[in-house]
Amino acid sequence: MKILAVAEQRDNRFKKTAFEVARTARVLADQLASEVVGLVIGNNTKSIAGELGGYGAQRVIVVDNPRLGTYSTTAYSKVVSEVAMKEQASIVLLAATAMGKDCAPRVAVKLDAGLAADCTALKVNSGEIVATRPVYAGKVSTEIKVTSPTKVFTLRPNVFASGTSSGSAAAVDQVDIELVENDFGSTVKEVTQSSGKIDVAEADIIVTGGRGFRRSCRCLACGCRCGMATAR
């Protein structure tokens, strides 16, 4: 059995979530006697692909195409599902990032698969994956299982441990997926970063406080020698 771990990269650097997804795939694979295959999509990403080996991927598939350098919902969904089908992966893991949450539902439909979204825990019970996820705005949590033969899970960022890299490099396979004009129905034309602000999702630790905390917040940030993301 194969688990496809979709590893998100931006500007040819893996996001933290890429390692969380690879490691989680490895943990599941060890309990389900499966192989972990990583997937990296982009342009000129071959040089970083092997890094996933340190987090548990045995092989990494790279789909490189100048047009995939920027995200396209329809093109990325097609690539993920075609690779999943080629590899006959029965489990597809993505991070529940903006990108993952955007394409996972389309991937699920293409693979005729159930989707367990924004999971906060995955465990194996008698050979079956049971996912925990928050519902009703986190007021309750639910345990679910995906009953279709192919299963798609998105993992909440910063919840699953990535662990540290073992340093081993995975074998990298470059695969061509045929993409036509129609596959680029929606394309990103421009990306703007919120100026001066840190991407909270990439932070190691997040400290939050109520409104009364605002004045102390800058002192705390100085005291801890860390960045301050936002004060609303």
């Binding site: 903006a98 996972a104 539902p105 389309r106 924004d118 279709s148």
Partner: protein, 248 residues
């Protein structure tokens, strides 16, 4: 333009949610229900697009009779037509999407708007699934939308910034807070909505692909520690974060 907004009828954001006796669903006793807040942005955006470009706004909901309350709210806001796909069985996102896509295919809309997620299931999946089933492009978590010459430029939220996405039409969009300020229905609108028809149709049924095993309250959090009340407490807080909590 033919504009469709899909809406869900969900527990009020302030409702206290308790697990029901079957351990797999919520106890609805005393729970007030409202239009899914994200869907309200979808309805509002459709109304604005109609005001700018002409056309018709149809609102669709899948659920039981009680969903009519939410459809009436949308009618009161000014939509032209409301449709209830009547079925109150428990469905996963895939099954909901299949029922909606099956109906929407008949309508052939130019734009289909969803809320980014329904605040009961929080899957954030139905809109994108419907798009895939209808083989349409989609943009999720939209905070701004411009339509010109058969194309749309949608601005969506991503980590630490925004993406501007160009898409051909017809297309599916899912609305995020900030897209617009939904109008309050006028008294005239509310009164008129009471007598506007709601078309009922039987949705297609497909099996769910996700099974709920259990619903649980999250574990209660332990009490916090008050270190001080102003900036002078910061050195002690830093010391505790470093030496006791060991997080820095």
């Amino acid at each position: 333009m033919k504009l469709v907004a899909c809406v869900n009828h969900v527990p009020d954001t302030t409702a206290k949610i308790n697990v029901g006796p079957d351990g797999k669903s919520i106890d609805k006793t005393g729970v007030g229900f409202i239009i899914n807040p994200y869907d309200e942005f979808a309805v509002e955006e459709c109304l604005r697009l109609k005001e700018r470009n002409g056309g018709e706004v149809v609102v669709v909901s899948l659920g039981g009779d009680t969903n009519k309350e939410t459809l009436r709210k949308a009618l009161a806001m000014g939509v032209d037509k409301a449709v209830l796909l009547k079925d109150d069985s428990v469905r996963d996102s895939f099954s909901v999407a299949r029922a909606l896509a099956d109906y929407l295919k008949e309508l052939s809309p130019d734009i289909i708007f969803f809320g980014k997620q329904s605040i009961d299931g929080d899957d954030a999946a139905v809109g994108s699934m419907v798009a895939e089933m209808l083989e349409l492009p989609s943009v999720s978590v939209v905070v701004k939308l411009e339509i010109a010459g058969g194309k749309a430029i949608a601005e969506r939220e991503i980590e630490g910034g925004h993406e501007k996405v160009e898409t051909s039409l017809p297309a599916v969009f899912t609305a995020q807070k900030g897209l617009n300020e939904p109008r309050y229905p006028s008294l005239k609108g509310i009164m008129a909505a009471k007598s506007k028809p709601i078309e009922e149709k039987a949705p297609v049924t497909v099996a769910s692909k996700v099974e709920i095993l259990a619903l649980q309250r999250p574990p209660s959090k332990s009490a916090g520690k008050i270190v001080g009340t102003d900036a002078s407490a910061v050195p002690e807080l830093v010391r505790l974060l470093h030496e006791e909590a060991k997080v820095i």
